[in-house]
């Protein structure tokens, strides 16, 4: 983890719901896709955690949903503005377990960290397949970014207005060696149930600190209570204890 100033070089809407934020700064603390960054926003006491969509040594890209007052303010911040950022937070995805044909399943903004994951899996010679699920056509994001990597994502929409009608599981007949998923918990649970293989799931949580100090985001696992921010946000399928 590193604390540093990052400059906004792009903050543009992708559609009415999601926006892309590109931050220039020292990306060296980021060691794995699926890690997150935590932004200090003017006027708010707590930082806001966001999955890193993709990154290199000089910049990182975040894709965020306008969900509350913090993200509404973030939408309004201009290019050129500097933000105090904690980067390299959380464990990230373990690429060593991917096998040859890993399946990446994202729901909504959960598609974001799968892009950086997909790029790195490709660079390791893997053949990732991607399923992205959204509510409706207007919510669809990042399909062009996956296409630019040479991977054509299968898209599902709940209302059938784009791609396959239904949830991501409707498109899960693809054979795969392992799965990685990020999105709403109900979706990830359905993916984990449907898949016969091992997998990793990336969880969202309301966090206090984002680096393991406050115990604000604890989740029970088969290995006992774990901090989503520090021990996660990525957990192995076998470790998950689902709330019933």
């Amino acid at each position: 983890m590193k604390q540093g100033l990052f400059t906004i070089v792009e903050n543009t809407p992708l559609n009415a719901r999601y926006a892309r934020l590109v931050l220039a700064g020292d990306g060296s603390a980021i060691t794995a896709p699926g890690q997150f960054a935590s932004l200090s926003l003017p006027g708010f006491f707590l930082r806001r955690p966001f999955s890193v969509c993709d990154w290199d040594a000089e910049a990182m890209t975040l894709v965020y949903e306008s969900a509350g007052r913090g993200t509404a303010l973030l939408r309004s911040l201009p290019e050129g503005m500097a933000l105090d950022v904690l980067s390299g937070l959380g464990n990230g995805f373990d690429l060593s377990r991917a096998g040859d044909e890993p399946l990446l399943v994202g729901g909504g903004s959960g598609a974001s960290p799968l892009l950086g994951l997909c790029r790195r899996l490709l660079s390791e010679g893997k053949r990732p397949r991607v399923i992205l699920g959204f509510g409706t056509r207007e919510d669809v994001i990042l399909t062009g970014d996956f296409l630019a990597l040479g991977v054509s994502p299968t898209v599902t929409t709940e209302d059938g207005s784009f791609g396959i009608r239904g949830f991501v599981t409707a498109a899960m007949e693809l054979p795969h060696s392992f799965f990685y998923t990020c999105g709403p918990e109900a979706m990830m649970r359905a993916v984990a149930r449907r898949s016969p293989t091992g997998g990793q799931l990336s969880f969202d949580a309301r966090m206090g600190c984002g680096f393991g100090a406050c115990m604000g985001c604890t989740r029970m696992t088969v290995d006992g209570p774990k901090r989503v921010c520090k021990d996660g946000p990525v957990f192995d399928k076998e470790a998950i204890v689902w709330d019933d």
Partner: protein
Amino acid sequence: MGRLSVSLCGIELDNPVIPASGTFGYGHEFAALYDINCLGSFSFKGTTLQPRFGNPVPRIAEGNAGMLNAVGLQNPGVDAVISRELPKLREVFHKPVIANVSGFSVDEYAQVCAKLDGEEQVGWLEVNISCPNVHGGGMSFGTDPKSAAEVTRAVRAVAKKPVLVKLSPNVTDIVAIAKACEDAGADGLSLINTVMALRIDLKTRRPVLANVTGGLSGPAVFPLALRMVWQVSQAVKIPVVGLGGVSSAEDVIEMLLAGATAVQVGAVNLKNPFVCKEIIEKLPAVMDRYGIENIQDIIGGAHG
């Protein structure tokens, strides 16, 4: 004695800056970022007799200039703290540490304190009778002078180390509770714990926190904490550790002027993990600016 040093219950601190319990874990997350031996001490995560998962999530909400938490004393239990956490802590922190203790009965407080009292690295026991986020324990002991005194007496009877009693602001008369603890043998007092608070989600029309209420901390509560430190330090002879929203070197000076002997820094650690180190580094320049030679000289200085 350096110009930043203070003495708390007979133990000298290199400086009066102490991360508050619940915002610093057992030190490891911060030791990975900087050498935490620059701290005066730190108060580790509240410890109970049995392991506790704590409250359901969400446990965290936000307020203007502060935050609410309802963690509910998640901890691995005193035996695991002694066997697992303290040996690891010794590797990264080489000064006396404050053992923060909570409980659900007078007997539990005494048992946990007795166990931690025997640990070499424990300098002080900090008895938390003020956690607002657990039911049937915690704050229920700290809102009544009689039960506060009862816990204090029970702990005092089993402990050799100095006992600090951590007080709740969620009372009508904090001075009465403070005096009851002093009379029962407390060696010092820490105040304030968090202020019981609430947020409601406008979309769901339900409380944000699964526990409904949580404890407010952060800069929002600093003036309230300062007022209570002012009142209590005038009413008792034992030292007071001031906490509640302290975020800067200036806040540390202000707390000492109000009567605190040392200061704990809480919520702001969660926003800026380097803040305690930064405060310690800035203190000499801030002292110079206000004509303070030695920081211990200003303790209670605002009382005239």
